[in-house]
């Protein structure tokens, strides 16, 4: 056992400073708010995951035999809505971001602690609305809400679901605003922009997208409601509207939203790989600026979701070209992470295994994105399972691998306890295997031509074997996701006490106690070192070695 793991017996920290439900619900401590978010987001993850399992079970056989068609349509709609608006978008910024942004730059809290709490309440109001919507009938349009189906044909609860996304959107805007102001105004002395951890750069880029993009989806939701309630002709051609206008507005937000999801996870990977390679990151500036590049270019590619929608061929040409362009900054990141490992001193604790998983899955997700950006191929594979597989490789393979890696990496800091390393590695392996078994067959299904959102494929029995593989994988994946929740909870009581810096990592968050005190630092730290300054950190044994 390492000598540094001296039990830091019950020093006063943000967890034990106050007790009682009020001390949590009225807290303005960014770390407690992060935990509030963590609990609510985990709840929604398992709701969305439960829907996913039901979808996979229905598709086990070609006939529509487990649930009714309408129920199936509501399942994939609610799966998408819950996962996108209540899990993927807030997951990293609201939990790890909330916890770490002030600590990593040497600040006591975010710039607007009360707005931070407000953003959680808005998220919860949105969450209650979406739960109420689900329990009283749900929505069947797909999370994309395409008009005129959503405004003139379905009789499900569009307005309520829209309102839920609208309210949750403001929570996201407030988080973005808070991060931007905090990063600009509250950096510790010496923490220059070129010394910022890359996690901060990625949160900063994400925040830009949140505050510029989210208002557009809010407006779009209002327009849908206006057409549905007052029959204003906006999107429905029967009323003189244009259904493609809806798709432009929807994707203008919803494509950049993908980068809201993936950028924070990329930031996590940029923290984990240098730490477990004992090396400064390769090409710091390029990794940092590529985040900003993705945020900017990400706003210019939305119509690549609409190549067969009836858009002009010349518009399609422009959007196809720009979509290839946005792939460059992502490629730069992959190459730099790989190069960081070159001549490192690499160990394979759970966070690093997730980082490997991220690299493996995100590479496949990114490369299949090139297929979809290419006009000639997109015509055949869009709206098929190829697209489903592609975006799950990015949004589940990428985002979740990064998130889980980050949760394991910072869990000692968050909880003051170590998670069980052996279980951690096992779960990472199960997730990786389960994920590939679930989603890889869907690429083949897609190229074969199986359309998305099909409840019944009795006339296409040739699709069954691949669907069976996918369903089998999803049960393995489910186990992989349950395991960490179980042992994280277990470790809060039975885990070994965590030292302040278990991984011997660089970064200000490791220079405070585990768990940190309410104001993070006893005195404001002064930064006189570069980010990932592993050169000047003497090597020692860390948990999970040997």
């Amino acid at each position: 056992m390492s000598t540094t793991a001296i039990a830091v017996a019950e020093h006063e920290n943000y967890l034990n400073k106050e007790y009682g439900i009020k001390s949590w619900l009225l807290t303005t401590d960014h770390k407690r708010i992060a935990l509030l978010y963590l609990m609510s987001i985990t709840f929604f993850f398992f709701i969305g995951g439960f829907f996913a399992l039901l979808i996979r079970l229905e598709l086990l056989t070609p006939a529509g035999d487990l649930v009714q068609a309408d129920t199936y349509n509501k399942l994939f709609t609610m799966h998408g809505m819950v996962m996108v608006f209540f899990f993927l978008i807030p997951v990293v910024p609201a939990t790890l971001g909330n916890f770490l942004v002030p600590m990593m730059i040497g600040a006591k809290d975010l710039a607007f602690p009360r707005i931070n709490l407000l953003s959680w309440y808005l998220y919860m109001i949105g969450g209650v609305l979406i739960m109420h919507c689900m329990l009283t009938g749900g929505v069947d349009t797909g999370w994309t809400f395409y008009t005129p189906y959503s405004t003139a044909f379905t009789n499900t609860k569009i307005i309520e679901a829209g309102l839920a996304a609208f309210v949750a959107g403001f929570s996201s805007i407030f988080t973005g605003l808070n991060f931007i102001v905090t990063v600009h105004r509250m950096r510790a002395p010496g923490m220059t922009w070129s010394r910022l951890p890359l996690f901060i750069w990625s949160q900063y880029a994400t925040s830009i997208i949140m505050i510029l993009g989210t208002p557009v989806i809010a407006i779009t939701i209002v327009l849908v409601a206006a057409e549905r309630l007052f029959h204003l002709g906006i999107f429905d051609p029967k009323l003189g509207g244009d259904p493609l206008l809806f798709q432009h507005l929807f994707w203008f937000y919803s494509h950049p939203a993908v980068y809201i999801m993936i950028l924070p996870s990329m930031g996590i990977i940029s923290e984990i790989i240098p730490c477990f390679s004992r090396k400064r990151i390769f090409g710091y500036k390029f990794v940092a600026l590529s985040s900003i590049g993705i945020a900017v270019l990400g706003f210019l590619v939305w119509a690549h979701h609409m190549f067969v929608a009836g858009m002009s061929v010349y518009a399609a040409l422009v959007f196809s070209f720009l979509s290839f362009l946005v792939a460059i900054p992502s490629a730069i990141k992959i190459f730099n992470w790989t190069a960081t490992m070159y001549k490192g001193s690499i160990s394979y604790q759970t966070p690093m295994l997730y980082a490997f998983g991220f690299l493996g899955l995100f590479t496949i997700g990114g490369l299949t994105g090139l297929f979809l950006a290419s006009l000639g191929i997109d015509v055949h594979v869009t709206d098929t399972y190829f697209v489903v597989a592609h975006f799950h490789y990015i949004m589940v393979g990428g985002v979740l691998m990064g998130y889980l890696g980050g949760m394991h990496f910072w869990w000692p800091k968050i909880s003051g306890r170590m998670y069980p390393e052996g279980w951690g590695r096992l779960a990472a392996l199960i997730v990786f295997i389960g994920f590939n078994l679930t989603f890889f067959p869907q690429f083949i299904l897609g190229y074969l031509g199986m359309p998305r959102r099909y409840w019944d494929y009795s006339h296409m029995p040739e699709f069954q074997i691949l669907n069976v593989l996918s369903t089998a994988g999803s049960t393995i994946l489910g186990v992989g996701y349950l395991l960490p929740m179980v042992y994280f909870l277990w470790s809060m009581r039975y885990g070994k006490l965590a030292p302040d810096n278990p991984w011997n990592a660089a970064g200000l968050e490791w220079k405070t106690s585990s768990p940190p005190t309410t104001y993070n630092f006893d005195e404001t730290p002064v930064v006189d070192f570069e980010a990932y300054d592993y050169e000047h950190i003497p090597d020692r044994e860390v948990p999970g070695e040997s």
Binding site: Y146, P237, G310, A339, M341, E462
Partner: protein, 329 residues
């Protein structure tokens, strides 16, 4: 168990091979890319694993290297972009002289009208080796016409026409799917495209009870609806003469120009005031709600036929019965 387990879709149109070629190119390319990344990661992880006496070597980065791995992928991406764009232009440019099929989509079926008057539901019979152009619209929500074996897909929108084309190369029966989610029975909105040898196709045509050719139906409607009272070939017509108009560029009252394609004709029937031809007054009443999508298709087919030499002559069009629609002055 494995005899019904395809890993590659059937290839039954002239376009399918082109799409597959680019797809295979991309598969190989991204396969290599994946292998490169994976091998590097695994090699580094093993070669530079943490062990006593081994110290990491700090490397700041390398701008030449960054430029290399930005510019080389960009070059490769450009190749994929151009290749994909070329295929896309082929897919979106129906050849001249293609046989036209009108498609009306609705929750949850495909209705098809052939030029010669045959009508089908959820089935499309076509001969091998002939260019088929589909002119499609929806009665309700957005649908998408998708035939995987042909590698074609096109969304079908309410309120306007979209087009797609193909030339089948292999006789057989192929899936027709709706690929844009359209409500409860979305997965039931399927059908088949039956590709036949020309001789069989002729037999099929002969064996189907068909109405009049589409353009003739349209001509009858043109008279019944009273269109022919204003759209006359003499100079006294209050509306523009439609002879030879299809496919031409038309000068509008406000100075803009528009190509008289299917969408313009459709719009001019349903929303006549939107784009008035130069020299005419906006006096035409709307026919919104008075003609079905199938009837619109017939009218469009008729007006098109006025630009071809063969089908109905203008004298036939001029012999109209009493107009049934009151003119709005």
């Amino acid at each position: 168990m494995f005899n019904n387990f395809p890993l590659w879709p059937e290839r039954a149109s002239t376009m399918a091979g082109n799409v597959d070629a680019l797809f295979i190119f991309l598969l190989v390319l991204s396969g290599l890319m994946c292998v490169l990344i994976y091998v590097l990661i695994l090699y580094f992880a093993a070669r530079y694993r943490k062990r006593p006496g081994h110290v990491a070597e700090q490397i700041e980065g390398s701008t030449p290297l960054e430029l290399t791995w930005s510019i080389i992928p960009m070059g490769i991406f450009l190749v994929i972009f151009f290749w994909g764009a070329v295929i896309f232009f082929q897919e979106r440019t129906p050849p001249r002289g293609a046989t036209e099929v009108y498609v009306v989509a609705k929750q949850w079926m495909w209705k098809l009208q052939h030029e010669d008057g045959q009508r089908e539901i959820n089935e499309l019979h076509v001969p091998v080796g002939r260019d088929i152009k589909m002119i499609m619209t929806s009665q309700d929500v957005i649908h998408s016409f998708y035939v995987p074996a042909f590698r074609i897909k096109q969304d079908v929108l309410p309120g306007r026409y979209t087009t797609a084309w193909f030339r089948a190369t292999q006789p057989g029966t192929y899936h027709l799917f709706c690929a844009e989610y359209c409500g409860t029975q979305h997965s039931g909105m399927i059908g088949q495209v039956v590709v036949m040898e020309p001789a069989q196709y002729e037999a099929w045509l002969g064996g189907t009870t068909s109405g009049a050719p589409l353009a003739v139906t349209g001509q009858r409607l043109f008279a019944e609806l009273g269109c022919s009272t204003c759209h006359r070939s003499d100079t006294q017509g209050r509306g523009p003469d439609l002879q030879g108009v299809f496919g031409k560029v038309v000068l509008l009252e406000d100075g803009r120009t528009v190509t008289a394609d299917e969408n313009y004709i459709r719009e001019s029937i349903l929303t006549p005031g939107a784009k008035v031809v130069s020299g005419y007054k906006p006096i035409m009443p709307t026919f919104q709600g008075m003609v079905s999508d199938e009837q619109l298709n017939a009218l469009v087919a008729y007006i098109k036929s006025l630009s071809q030499s063969q089908v109905p002559t203008k004298s036939a069009a001029a012999t109209s019965p009493q107009p049934q629609i009151q003119q709005v002055q």
